[in-house]
């Protein structure tokens, strides 16, 4: 594609094409979008974050990431669509415009680039990072069990061959540590949304403990609003609740850490499940998935904007 308008959002793309798209978006919108490299993956790929900002210094911010589990291709594809949506709707959609006039949005589309590359070239079903584990032939860590929130507790595996291997220590994966360092140094994130697929859920902390978060009532009611907005487009039904009550106990998870860092509006999505394809969601489902998810994202971002803390 010559420009981001002609990028084919209705198909899956290898990492080089997504990275080229990001650069195009930055070049086309220099006053709104910039690219920050927050670190390198184990294999040396840049960890790119798109920053959408209309100015100001260290404004309150919203984080969105997609693709931390590499085989969940609809998430990276949706993230690409979100990026374009933000630039096209700024100045048109009053709610998004109001948000961006006061806050920044950070979007990491390919959160696990080594894994994503591997899904395109070696193993379509790869989920973890690609760092070797000493003393084991099995490669990789589940980056959604690697965070310092109940790390090592139930709901994660100590076996390097498991799909939910937590890693040798919290933040052992550069893909995780880079976000940790960035969030800590920024110190002004107000919402953090981590996007997975598939099973149609919108979840809030905690996953590692049954103790409810102190903001449970507000997070629950906002989740309900978000999934109601999502369903208004195609009728897609989501479940919602805390991770431990809605799925199962999972320790070392992303949003448990972000919530414990003081980011109240911490959510994780599980995108579409048609009941037929699992991780191999057909490409014609990308745009409908992204469109309906955008409505839920807007609900969370708008609430964050209107309820400063």
């Amino acid at each position: 594609p010559r420009n981001s308008d002609s990028f084919d959002f209705a198909n899956y793309h290898p990492i080089n094409e997504i990275y080229a798209f990001q650069d195009m978006l930055v070049a086309e919108n220099p006053n709104l979008v910039s690219k920050i490299v927050i670190g390198q993956s184990y294999q040396g790929r840049d960890l790119n974050v798109l920053k959408f900002s209309t100015g100001g210094t260290n404004r309150p911010a919203i984080w969105i990431d997609t693709g931390i589990h590499s085989r969940e291709w609809v998430t990276q594809a949706s993230g690409t669509w979100f990026a374009k949506k933000i630039v096209t709707e700024y100045g048109r959609d009053p709610a998004l415009t109001a948000i961006l006039d006061k806050m920044d949005i950070f979007l990491e589309i390919v959160t696990n680039p080594d894994g994503y590359y591997y899904t395109h070239n070696s193993n379509r079903m790869w989920r973890k990072t690609r760092k070797p584990n000493s003393g084991s032939n099995c490669v990789g860590v589940d980056p959604n069990r690697n965070w310092d929130a109940g790390f090592g507790g139930p709901g994660a595996s100590g076996n390097p061959c498991s799909e939910t291997y937590r890693g040798p220590r919290a933040h052992s994966e550069s893909e995780v540590k880079s976000i940790v360092d960035f969030v800590k140094s920024h110190r002004n994130f107000k919402a953090f949304i981590s996007i997975h697929s598939y099973s149609q859920m919108l979840l809030y902390p905690y996953g590692y403990t049954r103790t409810p978060v102190k903001d449970q009532a507000e997070l629950h009611s906002l989740a309900k609003k978000a999934i109601t907005d999502l369903a208004s487009l195609y009728g897609t039904r989501y479940r919602y609740g805390s991770i431990i009550n809605t799925i199962y106990q999972a320790s070392g998870g992303t949003i448990d850490w972000t919530y414990n860092q003081g980011i109240k509006y911490s959510y994780t999505f599980e995108l579409r499940d048609t009941g037929r394809y699992g991780f191999v969601l057909p490409a014609n489902q990308i745009i409908p998935t992204a469109k309906e998810t955008w409505l839920a994202l807007m609900a969370i971002m708008d609430h964050t904007f209107k309820n400063p803390y």
């Binding site: 070239n121 379509r124 079903m125 699992g278 057909p282 490409a283």
Partner: protein, 96 residues
């Protein structure tokens, strides 16, 4: 490149908590080399498991022996991945 010829994805539905525990126990049966696409949650939520071809018969016999209901969500995973790849290639050629 790893292929998934003959791998199936089974959608399993537990009737009760007892069956749920039996499905959960499959996670520890490393000899089957199962890949849980959707893990065990509650009775009302299906569990999806990718089963390699070499384990299909054993896993199905195991489930049927426990009277656990399942259906085949994906008949041949590799066929689906081949289709996905074809679509990507043809989409990439389209602008030319």
């Amino acid at each position: 490149k790893e292929t998934f010829e003959g791998h199936q994805v089974l959608r399993i539905v537990a009737k009760d908590e007892g069956q749920l525990s039996l499905i959960k126990a499959l996670e520890d049966m490393s000899e089957f080399e199962l890949d849980f696409w959707r893990g065990v949650t509650d009775v009302s939520t299906p569990v999806d498991i990718r089963v390699p071809f070499h384990s299909l018969q054993s896993v199905k016999i195991h489930l049927e022996g426990q009277d656990i209901e399942y259906s085949v969500m994906i008949e041949d995973l590799q066929a689906m991945l081949d289709k996905e790849q074809e679509e990507m290639v043809s989409a990439a050629r389209r602008p030319e």
